[in-house]
Amino acid sequence: MIDWSGYIGLILQGALVTIELTVLGSALALVMAFAAGLGRLSRFAGVRVLATVYIEFFRGTSIFVQLFWAYFVLPFAGITLTPLQAGVLALGLNVGAYGAEVVRGAVRAIGREQHEACVALNLGRYHRMRHVILPQALPLMLPTFGNNAIELLKGTAVVSLISLTDMTFQAQVVRAQTGSTLIPFATILVLYFAMAMAISAGMRWLERRASRGLDGVRV
């Protein structure tokens, strides 16, 4: 009879790595999404081109390849990253590229009349974006951001390929040591699902907060 408690402990350690990757990757993705999304709306052509190249490159190539570049190829350029850094970098840049299009779409969805009101009130470009456009665009972004965060969570499984001991990696270890596939993979299935549910719940809460007042009822 196998003593499962030690093996489950191993998988839970992996779960912590997965959570760490998801949180840090999402943070980087969020920064990149706003930087590139607003960059595509810039009045400077150079900034628009830069943002577009970033978005198309990271959407158009596989996360798997990006990860290998970050971990195995960058050292040749003198940049050596730990597996965690490489994982966060690849995941954040990849998902950030998708998020950028969400930011751009939401900002453009805010009607021209809001921009015109800002001009009439003499608000400058920064104030316009910061106080009028983004607060209205944010509730539009959140549902898709939730999708992106869950995609990122599931994407963390590929980092096991660069020997990062995430949840999937540990499940493989347990499978190799015990010969059982069902128990470790059933465990991580449940854990991934629970994490995804937590993200969904968190995003719904954020959505309610962000859209407060917009529906006419002050909660």
């Binding site: 608000l123 106080h131 007042g213 917009l214």
Partner: protein
């Protein structure tokens, strides 16, 4: 004779192949209340939008309060205005829109205090005190904490007027401010504007289809058609004794459509 508050000199405005304004010139004196009337597409709203710098002009010059609106002196020559110059000029001008354009994510009070705090550095307490005065004047003081979505159209428009006034402009532009309102809500907005006309020395430009209001409110009425001023004069003359055939037929149609004169 004082110099004009607004001097429009031979301006042209085109959208692609469509010429909206063709060599238009007109002056507006300080404190003057001007009504711009005419059929849809005659260019009257475009004039307000140009003065608010929401549209550029393709030719000509505009002077507001003694300064060029779209041009500035640079190295001794007249050059296109940059954003900084436009911001300086916009301080003189406020605008109220047909569809209110309130910020839906901010309460009534914050809608009004936002611009004074950000653009003029007015402290929050002072901005709120001023906002409450203005809300009181437009009869909306009890709704200061409401969100725009909780207000009727007439209430929204009164807030929008207060919001524009909070920046103390020298010129106010009213673009069909009652056109989007239910008929029974029109009067409450017009009453606020009547008070403004009497109690302030602001220069006001009004685009409207409310001929009765234009008659009472304006010192001078301009009738526009196809981007040109067809006829102008005192309200009594334009509405009672229009000289141009085009003005006569327009007013006949407006009356037939049930608008009061």
């Amino acid at each position: 004779m004082p110099s004009p508050m607004i001097r429009i000199d031979n301006i042209t405005k085109t959208y692609g192949p469509l010429t909206v304004l063709d060599g238009l010139s007109m002056d507006v004196m300080p404190g003057e209340k001007l009504a711009l009337i005419g059929p849809s597409g005659s260019g009257k709203t475009t004039i307000l939008r140009i003065l608010m710098t929401l549209e550029k002009i393709n030719g000509g010059h505009i002077e507001v309060d003694g300064d060029q609106l779209f041009h500035m002196q640079r190295a001794g020559r007249l050059a296109a205005a940059d954003e900084k110059h436009l911001q300086t000029m916009r301080k003189k001008i406020g605008m109220v829109f047909q569809h209110f354009n309130l910020f839906p994510h901010k309460c009534v009070l914050d809608n009004i205090t936002l611009a004074p705090m950000l653009t003029k550095g007015v402290p929050r307490a002072a901005a709120q005190a001023r906002a409450m005065e203005l809300l009181d004047m437009v009869g909306m003081a009890d709704k200061a904490k409401n969100m725009p979505a909780q207000l009727s159209g007439g209430q929204k428009q009164r807030v929008a007027i207060a919001r524009a006034l909070a920046l103390s402009p020298k010129i106010m532009l009213f673009d069909e401010v009652t056109s989007a309102l239910d008929p029974e809500l029109v009067e409450e907005v017009l009453n606020v504007m009547r008070r403004l006309a009497v109690e302030t020395d602001m220069t006001m430009l009004l685009v409207t289809h409310e001929m009765g209001f234009a008659h009472d409110f304006a010192d001078r009425v301009l009738f526009f058609d196809k981007g040109k001023i067809v006829e102008e004069g005192k309200p009594a003359d334009i509405f009672r004794n229009p000289r141009q055939e085009r003005t006569q037929s327009f007013l006949r149609k407006i009356i037939a459509a049930g608008h009061r004169v």
